[in-house]
Structure formats: C-alpha cells, structure tokens
C-alpha cells in the first residue's frame, strides 16, 4: 500500500505511525494525550461493565480523559512496548504490552493489550481497547488472598 492511497488526505502512513507511537507514549499521561483526541471522540474499553467500572464507552474527550486519569490513579504504568501496528486506511490496530503496578497493593503484572484506533485528520475519533482484565483484577487483590 503506498502512502498516498492508504490514508486520509490529511495524514500519511508514516505520519499515522508516528501518531500511534505518540498515543502510546502519552497513554499514561492523559493531559498530554488530550491534544490528540477529537472533542467528540469515542473510547471503548471492552469488558463487562457490571464487574469493572472502567469498562464501557466514553463519548467525549472530557469523559475519556476522566477515565484515563482514574485508571492512572489506580495503576501506574511502568513500561509500554509496542508489538505490532497494522494500518489499514484511516484505521490501525495496535498490539502492545504494558507493565502495570497497582498503587494500592503494589502488585505488578505484564498485560497483553490491543486496540483499534480510527483517526480523522490528525485526531483520534475512535478507540476500541482490549486489556487482559482478569490479570488486572489480580493486581487489586492483596497478597494475602493468594
């Protein structure tokens, strides 16, 4: 796929790749991520909302930042590694892993994650994210419960 035929007129393929790198770099610091989000962006964290509050769809930049801020209060991102990026038109799929530490229990785990990112111009309009939620839950548990 050539640069010219792959993406929206406002962003090239290499630009999209740099953009994705910036999104992942800034995920742990929502204030820095704000400038990359469209005001009406959607962010879906896939999962069962009944069992964890982070799951579900956020439909504006402010609600997305509130979610990411809440997540950052509970979990500290120690490491982020991109494993694969596939760009297809204005959509990309990113496979990555995060090493997270729970700020309450101190427990650390490496989580396998994946997200779909859709852009318009140079702003995110949609993210759909999958996180190994069972492992995330385990970080919340005290060591006594092992």
């Amino acid at each position: 796929m050539s640069e010219s035929d792959s993406l929206s007129p406002q962003i090239t393929r290499s630009g999209f790749e740099r953009f994705i790198a910036a999104v992942l770099d800034r995920r742990a610091n929502p204030a820095l991520l704000a400038g990359l989000l469209a005001p009406e962006a959607d962010w879906l964290l896939n999962g069962d909302q009944a069992s964890w509050a982070y799951a579900g769809l956020r439909c504006s930049r402010d609600s997305i930042l509130a979610y990411l801020n809440a997540f950052a209060v509970e979990f500290q991102q120690k490491e982020m590694r991109r494993l694969d990026v596939l760009i297809d038109g204005e959509q990309a799929c990113v496979q990555y892993e995060m090493r997270l530490q729970h700020n309450g229990t101190g427990r650390v785990a490496l989580l396998q994650c994946l997200c779909f990112i859709r852009v318009e111009g140079e702003l995110i309009i949609e993210v759909s994210e999958f996180i190994d939620s069972a492992t995330l839950f385990r970080l919340r548990e005290s060591r006594d419960s092992d």
Partner: protein, 151 residues
Amino acid sequence: MDKKSDLEGLSREDYIAIARDIYGKCARGDSEPVLALFHEDATYRLIGSRALIHAAGLRVGKNEIRESWRAFDVDFEMLSFEVDDLVVDYPRCSYMSWRMRIRNRGAGAEAELDGVDRLQWRDFKIAEWTRYFDTALMAALGDSDRKGDLD
C-alpha cells in the same frame, strides 16, 4: 484454498469472505478445514493466565490447537458469532473483531463476549493466531455456578 495459487491476487473482499468462512466453520465446530489452513508449527494463543482461564495460554502445532478447540467445545457452547470489523494487511496479517454469545455447558451461564483475533499469515497459511477478549468475563463464566446471564 490452502494452495498459494488459490490465494494470490485476492482482493480485500475475497479475503474477508475467506475470513468469514473460517469463523463460520469454527462456530459450527467444523475445525478440520480450518486447521488445514494452519502451518504444522502454527501457534494459537488465548490471552490470559491459564491459572484463571483453563483454555488460555500458548498452543503450538495443529494437534495442540485441535485439543484446545475441543476443550473449549467441551466447556462452552457458542450460541452466536458475528464478525464485526477487519483491519488487514493481506497477506501478512489481519485483525478481526467479533462478538460471540457463549454458554457454559456445565453451569448454564451465558454471556456476550467481544474480542479480536490477530491472524499472522506466512506463505499463505496461518502461522499465528492470537485471541484477545475480556478475560475477567471468561474466567467468571468458567467458574460460575450461577444459572442465567452474566451480562
């Protein structure tokens, strides 16, 4: 379908049709034609801890993959399966998002599960298949002795 000559020159739509066919066969438990598309040393990985989800972890080779699918079929019944979205760089790799409704055969609990499969192709055969989903929901469904819906 497993011959290179049959797969070369496919359009995106052709590829989507093949992918849908793969999922349709998987959903019906018709696994052998799907396994024919795998390399002998292919890997299949369900994201998550095997301590929490019996079927999670890495399987290497067709025999282990076949056993993994059989084990899943023993524990769970797939009630519906829909392909949602596809991001593809054919013939290297594709990411397919899906939604399935499954039932724990033992407990009877049902749940709707969204996920994504990453299929890595090599020489027009599947070399790696990695499945992402809400692992907490799957673990709960596996453990559940409740009757009825979890969602």
